[in-house]
Structures are given as structure tokens and as C-alpha cells.
């Protein structure tokens, strides 16, 4: 059996990841920007790369895009080397840079038609322009577009060549809430249509809304990885709050609850329980209240957010 056939059989047995980064290290002038980072992106999924500024997100993405050579580690994009196989890879990958990369005097639609003409089967520019709400400013030079319009044009430039994989570096930075929602809808459509999406963000809600998997990055490493649910569920405790009459006997409540639960009266009549908050615990609390003639109101179960996860993992505030 030839090596080539062996290779084909292996690759058909295990479908290749869209992006496969292992042990990536990248230093700039002695400063380590990426420090042994691993990332695996399944085809057809949306992956969010979440972390503060300076965490190494953009460096990692730009290494995958072929702009930077790794100092150590292995990077494969669609099974190819981003630098050695650049010519084969570029038509298949859509790129949205943080800075637009459009000449200030170029008009919005002109830029898009130009990018479309570099591809074999581009999207219909008119439709794309309408979809992204750029139809009113098609003849406007890039420098006169609003920040949000520039962002949407950069996104359109990444999509117009009908790529298999897109890298979106902070696609919603600086967008107003409506434009942000519109971009989220678009990302969901990309997934529906089978496009693999890798996006960076420091917006927690964005990662929770969009991503199949989230990689939390800090100081050049992935410090946690999983679905948003896994990350939020994992390890630490959740919280249940309720209000009732002041001065309840919390000792007696805790006896009814599983070990490891804790309760505190934050202010008169306002209580907080921490522990494994599941349906069973909620039922226990309400029946205890019924036995004690307490009308508990304003019961709230608080899920951890990715923000909480990030704070726990790094002890740092996320700098926007």
C-alpha cells in the first residue's frame, strides 16, 4: 500500500480539524505573547477565543492566517501549513482583521466587488451589501463610513469569497446593540450553512450566545476550554437568593440541605444560599419555607456566567 493511500485512509477515518494548534509559542522582542497554546476547532463549528487584551488572541489568529511564523509548536489550518501552503489556503479562508485594511478613498461596494473578483465563485455583492445594511453607503469612501459600517464591510470582505473557514478578529467591537445582534444572526447563519467560524472577543455574552466551544485565554495560554454550559457549570458553586421575613432560623434550614451548603442573611429579610443549586435543593428550600410559614418571594437562581468563570480562573477583572 502506498503512503498516499495510507494517508487518505487515515484522514477519512478521523475527519481533520479545521484548525489544529499544538504547543504554539510566539515571542516578540523577548516578550512571550503566546506560551504553549493548544486549540482544536471542529469543522462546521463556531469557536470563541475569549480573553482580555494582550492575552495572545490576535497573535494566535494571525499565526493561523499565515502572517506570523511560530517560534515553536505546530499549526495546521484545513490540514495545511499556513505559511508553506499559503497559496492553496488563502482562497479557502476568509479573514476579518481588527484594522479594516481598506484604502480610505475606496468606496464600500467597490472594495467588495474587488475582493469578489479575486474569487472563483463569489457571493452576489448586491445581496451581501443589502444583508449587512451597507446598501445606503455603497458609494461612500471607506474613510467616511461610520465605525460600525467599517466593521460590517470588513466582515463582508471576509465572507464574499465563500470560504470554508473564517477568522473574525473582534467582529463586534465598537458596534451598537442592533448591529451587534445582526452580526450574531449572521454568524449563526454561517454555521447553519456549514462555514467554520473562529472569532475572538472579550465580550462574555457574545461567546455565550454564539459559540459551540469557548477557549478562555490568558497570558498566552488556554486556561479553560469547553462548551459555554460546561464552563459555567463546572466546579464552583451557584447561588440562590430569596426574600422572606427577617430573622429566619438558618441553622434549621441548613439541616435540611445537603452538606456543603451555606446560607447568610445579607440584610434583614434578604437571604443568599450557596451550594449545588439543583431542582432538588430548590424544592427543599420551598418546602422548608412552607413548614415554617414563610412566604419566600423573589426567588432567584443565579447561574454562573463566563465572566464569573474568568474571574475565578484568573482573579482578574476582564479589561474591555
Amino acid at each position: 500500500m502506498s503512503l498516499l493511500r495510507l494517508h487518505r485512509m487515515q484522514s477519512s477515518a478521523a475527519p481533520e480539524a479545521a484548525v489544529d494548534v499544538a504547543g504554539l509559542v510566539k515571542r516578540y522582542a523577548g516578550k512571550t505573547a503566546v506560551d504553549g497554546l493548544d486549540l482544536k476547532v471542529a469543522r462546521g463549528s463556531v469557536t470563541a477565543f475569549l480573553g482580555p487584551n494582550g492575552a495572545g488572541k490576535t497573535t494566535t489568529i494571525e499565526t493561523c492566517e499565515g502572517y506570523r511564523a511560530p517560534d515553536a509548536g505546530r499549526v495546521r489550518v484545513l490540514g495545511l501549513d499556513p505559511r508553506q501552503d499559503a497559496a492553496a489556503l488563502r482562497p479557502r479562508v476568509g479573514v476579518m482583521l481588527q484594522s479594516g485594511g481598506v484604502y480610505p478613498t475606496a468606496r464600500a461596494e467597490e472594495s467588495l466587488r474587488h475582493m469578489a473578483s479575486l474569487h472563483a465563485n463569489p457571493l452576489d455583492v448586491g445581496e451581501l451589501v443589502a444583508l449587512l445594511g451597507l446598501d445606503t453607503c455603497g458609494r461612500t469612501p471607506y474613510r467616511r463610513l461610520s465605525g460600525g459600517q467599517q466593521q460590517r464591510l470588513a466582515l463582508a470582505l471576509a465572507l464574499v469569497g465563500r470560504p470554508e473557514l473564517v477568522f473574525l478578529d473582534e467582529p463586534t467591537a465598537g458596534l451598537d446593540p442592533q448591529a451587534r445582534r445582526a452580526t450574531w444572526d449572521l454568524v449563526r447563519r454561517l454555521r447553519t450553512d456549514g462555514v467554520t467560524v473562529v472569532l475572538t472577543t472579550h465580550a462574555m455574552d457574545e461567546a455565550e450566545e454564539l459559540a459551540d466551544r469557548v477557549s478562555i485565554v490568558d497570558d498566552g495560554r488556554v486556561i479553560a476550554e469547553g462548551t459555554p454550559e460546561e464552563l459555567c457549570r463546572g466546579g464552583a458553586e451557584n447561588t440562590l437568593r430569596f426574600a422572606g421575613r427577617p430573622g429566619l432560623d438558618l441553622e434549621s434550614l441548613l439541616k435540611a440541605l445537603p452538606d456543603g451548603s451555606a446560607a447568610v442573611e445579607l440584610s434583614p429579610g434578604s437571604y443568599r444560599l450557596t451550594g449545588t443549586v439543583d431542582p432538588q435543593l430548590l424544592a427543599t428550600v420551598t418546602s422548608w419555607c412552607a413548614q415554617n410559614g414563610v412566604l419566600a418571594d423573589r426567588i432567584a437562581v443565579e447561574r454562573r456566567t463566563l465572566e464569573d468563570v474568568f474571574l475565578e480562573l484568573t482573579g482578574k477583572e476582564l479589561r474591555p
Partner: protein, 259 residues
């Protein structure tokens, strides 16, 4: 747009189509830029008219316009291939345009080819315009032989290559603002010291001999040999331009930074 719109169908366009599309964009960008037009069209035309009509510089025997027209053609090539290209590319680098194109299917060789096409189209427009103005001012070029025409075209092409490589070298190594200032300064110095409007014999002693080795001097001298004196060849000047092209291209390929 229906569902399935974004279903992947990747692929690069054929290279000639990419080059044509990008050359078109470069050309529109050039023609839209007022400062560039000042440099490439207004200044050469004004200099041609002014120095032909008024006796400011002693241009030797014969009509002044016969001396000036070849020099101004060389200046036109300098303004587009060197100054305009350096400034335009410098700002493309600054605005991340080159970086973004680096992730597109257009290869670097295609980018270079497209830039060259755009420059050649602008030069063609300049040559036509300046020739018409010069003829209106009484320019009577020497009776051209076939080899004279071929030499003139070769000079213009090799001059374009030399200036382009030097312009890209500047754009790819300096900050955009420094390129803007530097490219204009070089334009001015070469205008005065490059045999464009001032004959090199006017410079003292050995200075003229050194100035002859400048690319713009070689181009204007060579064009003058053909268009004013009716020579059928200009090998020394072609050699000077060829050396500048080789040196400039090698340095640009070695030192150009894309971002």
C-alpha cells in the same frame, strides 16, 4: 438571501482576472487622488509650458521645447513610477491594505503586476498629454527611425522598472509620512539635478559626470538622444537604468516590510 447562501464554494479567480481587477482598483485610486494628479499631470505640464515660453535656463542650441520635451517625459515617468507609487504604497502599508491583500488569493507577483499595469496606463496618458502640449508649443522631434522608436519605448519601460523598484523600496522600509516627505524631496532634487530642465553641462567640473549616472538623467539623456538628435540607440543610458533596476529590485525584495 435564502439559507445556503454561505455554503462554502472557495476558489481563486484565474490570475489574469485578479491582476486586471486589482490594476483597475489601483488606477481608480490614483486618478481620484488630487495630490497625485498635481504631481503627475499639473507640475510636468506647467514646467513644460513655463520653461519653453520663458528664457529661464540656457538649453543650448535649438528650440527650448526640443530640449525640454524629452526631459519632461522623463519627469512624468519619475512622478508616476517613483513618487506616486512610493507614496501610494507607503499609505497602503500604513492602512493595512497590503496586509489584508496578503490574506486574499492575489499572490504578491500578481499585486506587483497589477501595480505596474496601473503605472503604465497613467504614463501612457501622461505621454499623450505632454506630447500634445509640446507639439502645440512648437516641438519638432527628430525624424524617428524604427530603432529610434524601439529605443524610446525601451527607455521608458526600463525607466519605469528602475523607478518602481526604488519607489517600492522606499515605501516598504520607511514610515508612510517619511515616504511622503522623502519621495517629494527626491522628486524635487532630481527635477533640478537630473538633466530634466537644466542641462548637465551647466553643472561645474565633474559634478555633471556623476549626475549622469542618476536614473532620471539616464532616462532624459537617452530620450533626448533619440528625440532631439535622432539617434537610433542609447545603450549607455539603457545600461545605467538596467543597473538601477537590478539594484533597486534586489534591495526592495530583501528589505520590503509588508506591515
Amino acid at each position: 438571501m435564502s439559507s445556503g447562501t454561505f455554503t462554502p464554494a472557495p476558489g481563486a479567480a484565474p490570475l489574469p482576472r485578479m491582476v486586471a481587477a486589482h490594476a483597475g482598483l489601483e488606477l481608480r485610486t490614483l486618478l481620484r487622488n488630487g495630490e497625485q494628479l498635481l504631481l503627475t499631470v499639473v507640475i510636468p505640464t506647467l514646467l513644460l509650458v513655463l520653461f519653453s515660453a520663458v528664457d529661464i535656463v540656457d538649453t543650448g542650441a535649438g528650440a527650448r521645447v526640443d530640449f525640454l520635451a524629452p526631459g519632461i517625459l522623463a519627469l512624468a515617468v519619475l512622478s508616476t513610477a517613483f513618487t506616486g507609487q512610493a507614496i501610494g504604497t507607503g499609505f497602503e502599508r500604513r492602512y493595512g491594505v497590503l496586509k489584508r491583500l496578503g490574506a486574499s488569493p492575489l499572490p504578491r507577483s500578481g499585486l506587483l503586476a497589477a501595480k505596474t499595469c496601473a503605472v503604465l496606463v497613467v504614463e501612457l496618458l501622461q505621454v499623450v498629454l505632454l506630447a500634445v502640449v509640446a507639439l502645440a508649443l512648437g516641438w519638432s522631434p527628430a525624424g524617428l527611425s524604427a530603432s529610434g522608436v524601439a529605443t524610446a519605448v525601451l527607455l521608458l519601460l526600463l525607466g519605469t522598472a528602475a523607478f518602481s523598484s526604488l519607489g517600492l523600496l522606499m515605501a516598504g522600509t520607511l514610515r508612510a509620512e517619511a515616504t511622503l516627505a522623502g519621495a517629494n524631496l527626491v522628486f524635487l532634487l532630481l527635477l533640478v539635478g537630473g538633466g530634466v530642465i537644466v542641462p548637465l553641462e551647466r553643472f561645474p567640473g565633474g559634478v555633471g559626470g556623476v549626475l549622469e549616472l542618476l536614473p532620471v538623467s539616464a532616462l532624459s539623456d537617452g530620450l533626448r538622444d533619440v528625440l532631439q538628435s535622432g539617434a537610433g540607440s542609447a545603450w549607455p543610458q539603457l545600461l545605467v537604468l538596467a543597473v538601477w533596476t537590478v539594484v533597486g529590485s534586489a534591495a526592495a525584495a530583501r528589505f520590503f516590510k509588508w506591515e
